[in-house]
Symmetry: C2
Subunit: 421 residues, 2 copies
């Protein structure tokens, strides 16, 4: 049996952090975010990472199913990506005029991504979703943007909710919401706002937090594509989270349709800092007309890393492996739960699996199990989708399932089955 | 005499770029931006960089006065910064939970920047200006933001102009404009919108493009500070461009006042990709209340590079050297112009000097001289401020002035002085 971890050094570092950083650690990597409950179960600071694992400042080792919230797609310190990045770094990175490696990377994306005729590079996923919205507005001379329920498209004011601090009603005045997987509702919305909708921005499937993730119904995306064509609406796929894990030709390609614009970040360069908006030739003039740039946007090292990442993903057929590993893992976890009398629901695509223990309506049972997993060296979150990477092995997955048995045993000890059950 | 450069390989690479990248090279690094005229004078792609120089893909060498548009503050490939970055990279960069080097960097900023009680890290300068605006709105529960004429605060919709493509009237509905160096006008604006203004966002001095840059009049900033205090307006200094070149305690400290929030990017880590919003304790709760995060925002390598950069800037008193070198350069250029019968106006702070040949009202004469400089190996732009870095030597500056003599001679050959002049 594994001895549950403790986190003294993480807690001490967090006390330092709270003095000089708002919230100590902000956003999804911080303990104030709901996905990190129960808080006491989680380490807060890492010391090193390699392959499928990281080690926290207390020396605890974790099999990491969050992958830096997505970027780690080939494994931490992938030797091929790091070698390409270092070779470029010896030449140059951020210089007054760009390197031709930017052109090489754009050409590779155009060759790889089914819906890409061009690529525009930035730094955040949100840089590309905002650029997509501005491009749709410039191209159509319309204002309204449609988002699906459960959306997350970054932290720009237009992508936030009106009741969030710092957000104005004007920021979200032209944002409309539609329910996921409901073509009839979308058709009604498009008709009600005929001639006013610039773009539809959507994740390839509903992978929101705190809810089971929902794949597209058969024919849903094809129906959305038709509706967008009928109404002259720019169809934007936000592939920041799912991109490069389902299909290197794009998650739109995976689900059998073509986006007009597609947003990439996270896994694009295995952690090197770059994002990309790709799109159709019909929108190239519109995106060219915008004022849009940033200080580091043409840095060469992430482009070299991106070329190495995509080349390796392609040459190793990594997305097939992600599906196989993710399925082996979720099947194993669901089976382990069943053996201990629990019902574990795994949703979403296997490469980005979402977990929920369905035996009580509160979140408490699920969080108790996640706590037992994390404190035994399997880094999961309670209410966010997870990520698989190419450095993960069948042995890692099997070890994870073994730990799940221990964790379910510990949870069951606190919550015995009724006599006779 | 130097043989003027030609750019065959740059032009060939640009032809490739235009096929797969909107505008080929977009934004301020691209030839479509007005600061890059005359277009034929400029190289478009670099191959390597070191110290104060870069080399283009045709093998031409340039003394670089743009510094990657600011980031290169210590010299390309500064050995101390690169060593710190590489040591951190061997441990980890983008991981699911952050490294404590984030806390170390925040502590260093709080110790270094006069107006900083805390630091929040992101990736773009614009991430921090938008965060500042949202923080001011959250803290004051007011909507309006005041900007000074000649402003540039990034490419977020609120920071753009209404006639720019993709920008809605709602994006800029609560943005007000005030003239630079005019306290009476600012007082009137604050009174007209009493109780409605959340924040004032301003560069430390007016360093806009296409116009002579303008320093603050004596007492101007102190008057602005008083007005902000009287009206409960959050005073935000956008130090993205000037930061770390005037005063490592902040450009507000340089001009003798304290900002409530201050935005850093560019020179913060000598080209490694990080930005920071720093601020007062009174605003820590407000910034903590916002939803604001991004995929790579806690990557460890740029934090390590930032610590090394600021430490070296401090230990070498680099800002004094920037002023000395910038003054030696602008004095030399102005003197060279005079010897050839031209009037060169150097404006702004010497570390970020702006140049304009004042002998004709069109931009043509100035652009002709810039073209002669660039084609002889001195990388300047026609209508943007420039940047000095710590790898620049007196010999580099003197060589630049020598080249200026050649360039003025070439310009004079095309525009002979009137007989008898």
């Amino acid at each position: 049996m594994t001895t549950p971890y403790t986190y003294e050094k993480s807690r001490a570092a967090f006390a330092r952090a709270t003095r000089v950083i708002p919230s100590g650690i902000y956003g999804h990597q911080g303990p104030s975010e709901g996905v990190y409950v129960p808080r006491e179960a989680f380490p807060l600071f890492s010391a090193r990472a390699a392959g499928s694992r990281f080690w926290d400042v207390d020396g605890n080792e974790f099999i990491d199913y969050m992958c830096g919230y997505g970027p780690n797609v080939l494994g931490y310190h992938d030797p091929d990506v790091d070698a390409a990045a270092q070779a470029q770094a010896r030449l140059e990175d951020v210089v007054t005029i760009p390197s031709t490696v930017m052109v090489d990377f754009a050409e590779l994306l155009v060759d790889t991504v089914a819906s890409a005729d061009w690529a525009f590079f930035a730094k955040n996923g949100g840089d590309t979703t905002t650029l997509a919205v501005m491009t749709a507005r410039a191209a159509t001379r319309r204002k309204k943007i449609v988002l699906f329920g459960g959306y997350y498209h970054g932290v720009a004011p237009w992508a936030q909710k009106l009741d969030y601090p710092g957000v104005l009603e004007e920021d979200v005045a032209h944002v409309l919401h539609a329910p996921w997987n409901d073509l009839a509702a979308l058709r009604r919305l498009f008709s009600e706002h005929r001639g006013q909708i610039a773009g539809l921005v959507a994740q390839p499937y509903m992978h929101g937090n705190f809810v089971d993730n929902v794949l597209p119904d058969p024919g849903f995306w094809q129906g959305v594509r038709r509706l967008c064509d009928e109404h002259g609406v720019v169809l934007v796929v936000d592939d920041v989270r799912a991109g490069w894990r389902l299909d290197i030709a794009g998650s739109d390609h995976f689900y059998g349709f073509e986006a007009d614009l597609i947003c990439f970040c996270k896994a694009l360069a295995n952690g090197y800092n770059v994002s990309a908006l790709c799109g159709k030739d019909s929108l190239k003039d519109a995106v060219s007309s915008l004022t849009y740039t940033g200080s580091y946007w043409m840095s060469a090292v992430p482009f070299a890393a991106g070329i190495a990442t995509i080349t390796k993903l392609r040459d190793t057929d990594a997305t097939t492996r992600f599906r196989t590993l993710g399925t082996r893992l979720t099947d194993g976890l669901v089976g382990a739960a069943r053996e201990h009398g629990f019902t574990l629901v795994a949703s979403g695509e296997p490469a980005l699996f979402y977990l929920r223990l369905a035996d009580d309506d509160s979140l408490g049972l699920h969080q108790a199990w996640i706590a037992q997993m994390v404190r035994r060296g399997v880094f999961l979150t309670s209410h966010h989708n997870h990520f698989v990477n190419a450095a993960l092995t069948e042995a890692d997955v099997d070890r994870t399932v073994e730990i799940a048995h221990e964790a379910f045993t510990a949870v069951r000890a606190d919550r015995p089955l009724p006599v006779g059950a």
